[in-house]
């Protein structure tokens, strides 16, 4: 199996199958991230596409010794998603139509909450997404980076352009905000 750097190089040079393969390998986790970030499946797919195109255009700058390709792609996607949010000039709103990543696909929040037979982890994920959707955008975003993406503060800081300690502090504040939100809104059935 060709490694990522080779695939990227071929894709950037115009190899369609290589572009397809790299997309198939890297797209799913980044799309999950974008769906959570943007709360809009179509916009997430658009940003995903733009992220890949950006990656291909700048393929010559990729150094496999520095990071995994997926990590770089997520960084690009994060920045593009933020640009998209600024462009919309509004934060994602949570509604029953909000897409929720669920086992390889996307389900609607309302549908998941109504579906008593849905796997508990999916319902928990949907409720959690709904809860953090009520927070301020910066809090929501950092909680996604930390708990959905599992990034340590250092990487979060790298994405946000701040130091790891500042990232930890913001994470702390976000967590406190979530704690308050949970205290007010979270049903016991969560």
């Amino acid at each position: 199996m060709p490694d990522e750097a080779e695939l990227l190089s071929r894709a950037a040079a115009g190899d369609g199958p290589a572009a397809g393969e790299i997309y198939d390998r890297l797209a799913p986790p980044v799309l999950r991230f974008l769906v959570a970030m943007l709360g809009d499946e179509q916009a997430a797919e658009d940003v995903l596409q733009e992220s890949f195109l950006y990656l291909f255009r700048n393929a010559d700058r990729y150094d496999p010794g520095q990071s995994a390709l997926g990590t770089w792609l997520r960084r690009i996607a994060f920045n593009l998603a933020n640009n998209e949010l600024r462009r919309r000039r509004r934060r994602p709103t949570v509604s029953l139509d909000t897409p929720v990543p669920a086992d390889g696909t996307v389900r609607r929040l309302g549908e998941l909450l109504a579906d008593k037979s849905a796997p508990p982890e999916q319902r928990r994920g949907a409720l959690a997404l709904e809860l953090i959707g009520r927070l301020e955008e910066k809090d929501r975003q950092i909680l996604i980076l930390r708990y959905v993406e599992g990034l340590p503060p250092r990487e979060i800081g790298g994405l946000l352009g701040i130091g790891p300690k500042t990232a930890s502090m913001r994470l702390w504040r976000a967590l406190k905000a979530l704690q308050s939100q949970v205290r007010r809104d979270s049903p016991d059935s969560l």
Partner: protein, 450 residues
């Protein structure tokens, strides 16, 4: 320790994995004695677990998204130019500042034409050199951070602003068109109910497409050509070269020839209506065309001659340009008298291009030109534009060091025993994709982390 507030603090810290052994024992003792805090702790834990479980799943792109991506990737490998770094028209202006008010589009078909001033502003576009095969030749190094010198085909427009999902159909494929894309003959552009776009020609003429609008780009053989399939167009044309008028709907009954003017054209089904702000155009096929002057309106249906021009209210023309494209989905259309709802501010449609980098120069309204025979739509030619930077106004390439250096982190929350003071400020600038850290939020590495 029986203080619930302290317990909540410790619960939060435990969530950050920063609770030391002593704190843990204190917290455990409190939770055992305080059911309220215990419930809160469980709720928070469930929420964080739910977020973590989201992170365990992946989302496979829909097949159509994959196809679209592959088409776009193939498209992007064509020679490209870079979008101008100058904002020729602000997105804010383009998006409008008012709310969309559902227009009463009573006509089965509408055609609106407004004529106005045109601008002789200097070119703000990059230059694109046209190859014989229609492709752009990029001059200069073409590094990802360098503005490219490109000279555009004077008769083909570029997608200057695309708000929402604007689809481009070319050679049987359909992709979401990025801003900056240079269009080619026979391209079909479609805006959906939540999208608008502005097509800009090198001479600063432009055509602005309302929502739910479709146009086809002509080959430019006899001058600029656009065919409106449905929806509304607002067109502002600079003075066109002698013998090369801009032609809307070439060869059709609702053909419009423009030498230098501005107008809006709307089409529903087979009926087209036209209203003018300033200037003068010939409306209709040759031999049956009528001259429509500023402040006049006319309409045409298949097989009929254009109606005699009649007065119309200029201030209501093309009011949709001032509406917020992201607002509620419009039904599209105008009142039975052909007027559009006025913008909430009561501002007349733009007569002077607000995007002009310098004071606009008024050019005498165009004169009537005898329509020539319609030209069919040519075969597709390759794209010549740069469907480039996807994000904000500035698009430096990724920092050479941008691939993440932080592969490992041994500091996972450990530095948060006590919440440090926030010295950071919110990020406000668009972030170049791939750039480490993005624009500095002004926050320095915290010094108060202890």
């Amino acid at each position: 320790m029986s203080d619930c507030k302290t317990a909540q603090e410790l619960i939060a810290r435990r969530s950050l994995a920063s609770l030391e052994a002593l704190d843990e024992s204190i917290l455990s003792a409190h939770l055992a004695a305080c059911p309220a805090c215990q419930r809160r702790a469980e709720r928070l834990a469930r929420t964080l677990r739910g977020l973590g479980e989201l992170g365990q799943t992946e989302v496979r792109p829909r097949p159509e998204a994959r196809s679209r991506f592959l088409a776009a990737a193939a498209e992007a490998r064509r020679p490209t130019g870079r979008r101008s770094s100058r904002a020729l028209i602000s997105r804010r202006h383009f998006l409008g500042v008012g709310r969309w008010r559902r227009p009463a589009f009573g006509y089965a078909a509408q055609g609106l034409v407004a004529a106005g001033l045109l601008l002789a502003a200097g070119l703000g576009l990059a230059h694109l050199r046209q190859k014989p095969d229609g492709r752009a030749a990029v001059s200069g190094q073409g590094g990802p951070n360098e503005p490219l010198a490109v000279k555009p085909d004077p008769e083909l427009p570029r997608v200057e602003v695309a708000s929402g999902t604007v689809m481009l159909e070319r050679a049987g494929r359909s992709i979401k068109v990025p801003e900056g894309t240079l269009l080619a003959a026979a391209d079909r552009l479609i805006t959906d109910a939540r999208a608008r776009t502005l097509l800009r020609y090198p001479d600063r003429s432009f055509a602005e497409m309302n929502r739910n609008t479709a146009v086809i780009i002509g080959d430019g053989a006899g001058g600029k050509q656009l065919s409106l399939e449905r929806g509304e167009l607002f067109v502002k044309a600079a003075k066109q070269p002698a013998g090369r008028p801009m032609t809307l709907n070439p060869g059709r009954a609702d053909q419009v020839l423009v030498v230098g003017t501005a107008f809006e054209l709307a089409r529903r089904d087979d009926r087209t209506r036209l209203r003018m702000i300033e200037g003068q155009v010939a409306f209709g096929p040759e031999a049956r065309s009528v001259v429509v002057n500023a402040g006049q309106a006319s309409s045409v249906e298949p097989g009929a001659a254009p109606a005699a021009p009649e007065p119309c209210e200029i201030s209501t023309i093309a009011a949709w340009r001032h509406e917020d494209v992201a607002a509620s989905t419009p039904a599209g259309g105008t009142k039975p008298d052909g007027s559009s709802p006025a913008s909430p501010e009561g501002v007349a449609p733009v007569v002077v291009d607000p995007a002009a980098p310098t004071a606009p120069t008024a050019v005498a309204p165009g004169k009537v030109v005898v329509p020539g025979p319609g030209t069919g739509l040519p075969t597709p030619t390759p794209v010549t534009g740069d469907p480039d930077p996807p994000a904000g106004p500035k698009q430096p390439g990724p920092d050479p060091a941008s691939p993440d250096k932080d592969k490992k982190d041994g500091n996972d929350g450990k530095d948060t025993k006590k919440p440090p003071e926030d010295r950071g400020r919110p990020v406000t600038k668009p972030t170049p994709p791939g750039k480490i850290g993005g624009p500095g939020p002004g926050g320095k590495p915290d010094k108060g982390g202890k």
